[in-house]
Symmetry: C2
Subunit: 373 residues, 2 copies
């Protein structure tokens, strides 16, 4: 077996939205390497990961909670593991979970694993694919009418991975509060890229992803709770009272947590530049659409770096190309650009996060050239 | 925050049983560093972690299953996450889980999180602390009488973390089969250190730990199932049929899985030297006991590298020492030896795994010197 990453992937501009917010910072990389031995993070452990002071996971958990505006946070293996822990805490037989129409598959699987019946809201369809607070309210109502009880939980995807739409979580919080349903905000694509404040948004729970949006070496993420929910999510074992049930005692007990910790200072700085990130996305969309036969779908103007394009232009070129569907992937690879699915020409999604203005210029130029092929 | 490990920890002989089998091999270290970017393992993913062929996680899962003698295996975040997934698969309201008396705390927490009532067998107490097949059979019976049904699952700790006792899993398998209860073998301290063959042992499920016993950079581990149980453990979502419910789609989606893969070839070699590892432990115990007022507890002679000592000798010296309880930790640190809990002098556990004969000689000499303090 080979463990070399394909050279071009490391050197190239990787447009995959999964990858742009998770490029490990130098500090994260160094910290992970320092702690690559199996249980080395536990060298100074007295029994609870989140109480370890060397490295200072204890302080980090507090700092992270403050950063995202939650009363208490804990490190998890990723956002989905946090979603499951919260759903599992709230689940009761016969109860439902309300999800927004653009929720990630792992949200479904997490709710299903916790034994909840899933009720999905609608979105507005082409071209915006927006989840409206009204559709969410209707789904909450529908869930109640079908199960006989309010949903055990509602989950809103703060920024979804299909369109990069940013939902106004505060509006959804109000609706959930009125319905008596606790709201989980999935910040896998928001926290760590842009400023997020759970308390200001009025959410009850939050999850986020270290490897997706915190420049950390994964898998790692976090979950947080506010107010009365804190105690329930972080309940402990009756037989082992210092062990959190939903954390199985300890979660990210390795290099991953240390890389997350080392990445945070840089992340705190980069979220201050969020407006510039959005401006970059908007500029990129304009340039791409000016090529003709290319259309950005999802909310417009962009308020996030994840962009979905419909690209009949590239599909038409592909049909006349010797490489057929692989032409776009191949033409980009020739220009040191990667991250698009091979074989995809009708549409694709990508992200402009973290690229310099010069790199954005280069990307635009590359697509322009390819449009003329 | 500082992310330097205390220098002596890295250079010293670390006796902590948590650490000796998890020192990352050079290959594991290099692979982890190569994939430290957040989601880089997903560069070539078509939707399912265990189907990724670059790096070849697909082959690895098959190779791992073969190595431990299970029909199917999947990478998890660690042994405890595997235990929970299995308990959760088997759990029903009102049912129990039977655990051996020496089970790790995370086994309790995993069973409790899955909603199972825990029934613990007894052990033979001082000096052997052995779990007998008879006591396990009695506990299975007791669980049935209390809950009205056979236990939903039984878990046997193959080698426990308190005494390093090695249980003859085949005997326990027969008992569980007779009782109609599926058996989970927790191999966190066995698989990766010594040869283990789940099919030969007749177990239904197995879990193991990459960061504890496979020289991998964690957190990472595996779970496996045999026969009819395979389909149940690896059931998929009705709405997302390529996503495993208990894996939440994908588990160890980062540097951890790659380090595990890179470590396996070395692990396959090292388990062939298991007899020599045991001989080392036996020799060390003899040397320590020859100092007087030191007694190895747990089964004797040792059949595993994890050793627990009662050390009235060191406690007596500590009482007369200026450093009191910290004398032993400090005297060892002076000699480049670490991994014992500070403040502990009445007893300690340690491991001889992976040390050279010369290092064992050095350790014996060090303890001899300290015994004369």
């Amino acid at each position: 077996m080979s463990f070399e990453r394909v050279a071009i992937d490391e050197l190239a501009l990787n447009l995959n939205p999964l990858q742009t917010g998770g490029r490990a910072s130098a500090a994260a990389r160094k910290a992970a390497a320092r702690f690559s031995d199996g249980y080395s993070v536990c060298d100074r452990c007295a029994g609870v990961l989140h109480d370890i002071e060397k490295p200072d996971i204890k302080c980090f958990a507090v700092e992270l909670a403050e950063f995202v505006g939650m009363d208490r946070a804990a490190v998890t293996m990723g956002a989905r593991e946090g979603k499951f822990a919260i759903f599992h805490t709230l689940s009761e037989p016969g109860r439902g979970a309300v999800l927004d129409a653009n929720a990630h598959y792992s949200t479904y699987v997490a709710a299903q694993r916790a034994g909840l019946e899933v009720f999905k809201s609608t979105n507005t369809g082409d071209p915006d694919f927006r989840v409206t607070p009204d559709s969410f309210a209707e789904t909450l109502e529908y869930c109640k009418s079908k199960t006989g009880k309010p949903a055990a939980a509602a989950l809103l995807t703060h920024v979804d991975g299909d369109y990069g739409n940013l939902n106004d979580a505060a509006e959804f919080s109000k609706i959930c509060k009125d319905a008596g349903v606790p709201l989980i905000l999935n910040c896998a694509y928001s926290a760590g890229r842009m400023p997020v404040d759970g308390r200001a948004l009025g959410v009850d729970f939050m999850v986020g992803s270290g490897h997706k949006s915190f420049a950390a070496s994964g898998p790692v993420g976090f979950m947080g709770a506010n107010g009365e929910w804190t105690e329930r999510l972080f309940r402990t074992s009756l037989t082992h009272p210092n062990k959190n049930i939903e954390l199985l005692g300890c979660t990210a007990r390795g290099a991953n947590v240390v890389s997350f910790m080392a990445a945070l200072p840089g992340v705190k700085e980069r979220v201050k530049r969020w407006d510039a990130e959005v401006a970059k996305a908007v500029r990129f969309v304009e340039a791409m659409e000016s090529l003709g036969e290319i259309r950005q779908v999802g909310e417009k103007p962009k308020r996030h770096d994840l962009i979905r394009f419909e690209t009949p232009l590239f599909h038409r070129i592909a049909e006349n190309s010797r490489k057929r569907g692989y032409f776009l992937h191949s033409a980009l690879a020739d220009r040191g650009i990667t991250g698009l699915k091979p074989g995809q020409t009708r549409w694709f999604k990508m992200s402009t996060f973290g690229f310099t203005d010069e790199q954005i210029d280069y990307l635009i130029e590359a697509f322009k050239e390819i449009a003329r092929m």
